[in-house]
């Protein structure tokens, strides 16, 4: 995928394919995902349940349980090394030290029997070899960075003494303690109230600039993406269906699924008009439709024979903007006409 070659590419996923071996058969969760995350940007991965977005994110840090998960193919390039080939020792260095991850539910990600300060400090003691004292100071500094008031007192408190939004910030503090180059955020605000979500998103953006890292944001919320992302990749049934800058993908959507998403989401400023749900059901990951996985639900061109037999590849729509649809030009023209 060529693009803006000015920025450094930090992470490059090439043709990643992951399956889960279950009682009912092989679940093909990820089927050929390729994308890049560049330094300093916010890259959003958008999809609904079953799209494979979380599985992709977890595989980067090797967090998938190895049976039942199985990497069928592809490479995860972090700089010049393929993380899929990395030793356990190397992965432990990478996790937290170079790539950090924050999760949806801070309650389960934070250890309830250790203080926040200790958990944050653990990161720098392990990765940077800091002393206990220095680590505590660093933890206080990190808590301040994420906007937690009175960090010197809070550093000795336990997770359950924090509120939901604070816990999420504490988790962010833990993640950035070693100044990772890439921060992966898996649905970081889904479980939060909307006013708290606004706070946490603000923290994330501020942090990104402060420590000069990139953010890979996994979410299903199009509003969040529109607000903070630079580039976005839409996933469906384990494959990317559209990628590009946020303006390109939102304003000139060229894939029927993306269009379906945009048309089915109401907007709080009332500019939406009629809601148009996407017909049918999400596909069973045990038995994906042949050809384009979306064709049974596509309202544009589903009668076309190649949609039913040939898997579309990501083709360029305009520089930096790609869509996996045999008829993306026709689709986007129809869309423009509809909105006029």
């Amino acid at each position: 995928m060529s693009g803006d070659i000015n920025k450094d590419v930090l992470l490059s996923i090439e043709d990643l394919a992951i399956s889960f071996d279950t009682e009912d058969g092989e679940v093909r969760a990820v089927n050929g995902v390729s994308f890049e995350v560049r330094a300093g940007e916010v890259f959003a991965v958008v999809g609904e349940s079953g799209s494979g977005k979380s599985v992709t994110a977890m595989s980067i840090l090797g967090l998938l349980p190895a049976p039942p998960a199985r990497i069928r193919g592809g490479r995860i390039m972090w700089g010049t090394e393929n993380l899929l080939d990395a030793t356990d020792h190397r992965m432990r260095e990478v996790r937290g030290g170079e790539i950090a991850m924050i999760f949806q539910d801070p309650l389960t990600a934070l250890n309830p029997v250790h203080t926040i300060g200790r958990q944050i400090g653990e990161m720098v003691r392990l990765h940077r070899g800091m002393s206990q004292q220095a680590a505590k100071q660093h933890a206080i500094e990190m808590l301040g960075l994420v906007g937690i008031p009175q960090p010197a007192q809070r550093v000795d408190m336990y997770p359950h003494e924090f509120s939901g939004g604070m816990r999420q910030r504490a988790m962010i503090a833990m993640a950035i303690a070693c100044r990772p180059r890439l921060l992966i955020a898996d649905e970081p605000t889904t479980a939060l109230d909307v006013t708290v979500q606004a706070q946490v998103l603000e923290v994330l953006i501020g942090i990104k600039d402060e420590i000069d890292s990139a953010i890979m944001l996994i979410t299903h919320d199009l509003g969040v993406v529109a607000g903070i992302a630079d580039r976005v990749m839409v996933m469906y049934a384990g494959r990317p269906v559209e990628t590009g800058t946020v303006d390109q993908v939102f304003d000139r959507s060229s894939h029927p699924y993306t269009i379906g998403l945009m048309d089915s989401v109401p907007a709080v400023d009332g500019e939406q008009g009629e809601l148009r749900p996407i017909g049918g059901q999400p596909p069973s990951m045990l038995r994906l439709p042949a050809g384009c996985s979306f064709h049974p639900r596509c309202r544009f061109m589903h009668l076309a024979s190649d949609c039913q037999s040939v898997v579309p590849s990501l083709d360029q729509v305009e520089p930096g903007h790609f869509a996996a649809c045999h008829y993306s030009t026709e689709v986007s023209l129809t869309r423009t006409a509809e909105r006029a």
Binding site: E48, S49, S163, V194, F250, G260, A267, G273, R276
Partner: protein, 333 residues
Amino acid sequence: MSWDRPPPPQDLLVATDVVKEFDVRAGVLQRVTGHVQAVSNINLTVHSGETLGIVGESGCGKSTLGRVLMNLLPATSGSVRFEGREIAGLRERDMRPIRARLQIVFQDPYASLNPRMCIGEIVGEPFLVHRGMNAAAARPEIARLMETVGLSPEHTSRYPHEFSGGQRQRIGIARALALDPSMLILDEPVSALDVSIQAGIVNLLMELQRERSLSYLFIAHDLSVVRHIAHRVGVMYLGKLVEIGPKEQIFSAPRHPYTRALLSAVPVPDPTRERARRRIVLVGDVPSPIDPPSGCRFRTRCWKATEVCATHEPVLVGDESGHAFACHHPEPA
């Protein structure tokens, strides 16, 4: 499709000074140490054929309110009149015939259907309980209901786990519609569904409202959905109703600072419009409902708070258009 004309008012559900308290227990013997007012002096009205949206964040008491209005939870005090009858405090035996007229749809499509009952039995249970009709007798009714919500009647012998989330929610709606109620309480009916499925359920609900003149109390935290479906909207914070009024006024010209902050915090799925918005970011977290702030409960996070906000609790005051708000320093109209 958005709602422009408010339907003719006829007070279907009237809540007056409704309060719901829970006991706080602590210690080895679980003694009662205090009370939490989950719902605090709520006054509202739902008119026939309209949707009243109730929004608020977690802990504001909206779900509790829904259950109290249905008499699933007994109110601590206050009055709830439905179709002219007082229902707060009614015994279950007397409440039963009213249940046919006032039904509820739950949030979680996975938990609201008994996994050991087939769909026909689930949708047919209201007929069994209220009209003594067994499965065979109710079959044509059940088939009709399934079709109404967009499901095939052939699937009545299947079990909930064989259906998707969106389909289960439709089954829940079919069950609620069985006895032809005049009002539905919907407690976050689409929050647990994927975004593209939500639209289908919302459209179904709106279609049903048109066809049957149903009234809805639509409880949600997702303001975007509420804007789409509601005629009037009420905003709750820590058990209190801080603002209520016609939808357009609430969304375009909110008077209460919390409403304004809430609206500005909701992201819009359009980068151009999103960039143009000014966001108010509140400071601090929601206080604990066990020990709410004195006076105005929102003052600890409000950028306009003054001394009077701590000493005097603001009262809900309305104008002729039905727009009411409780604030000492309301936003300009």
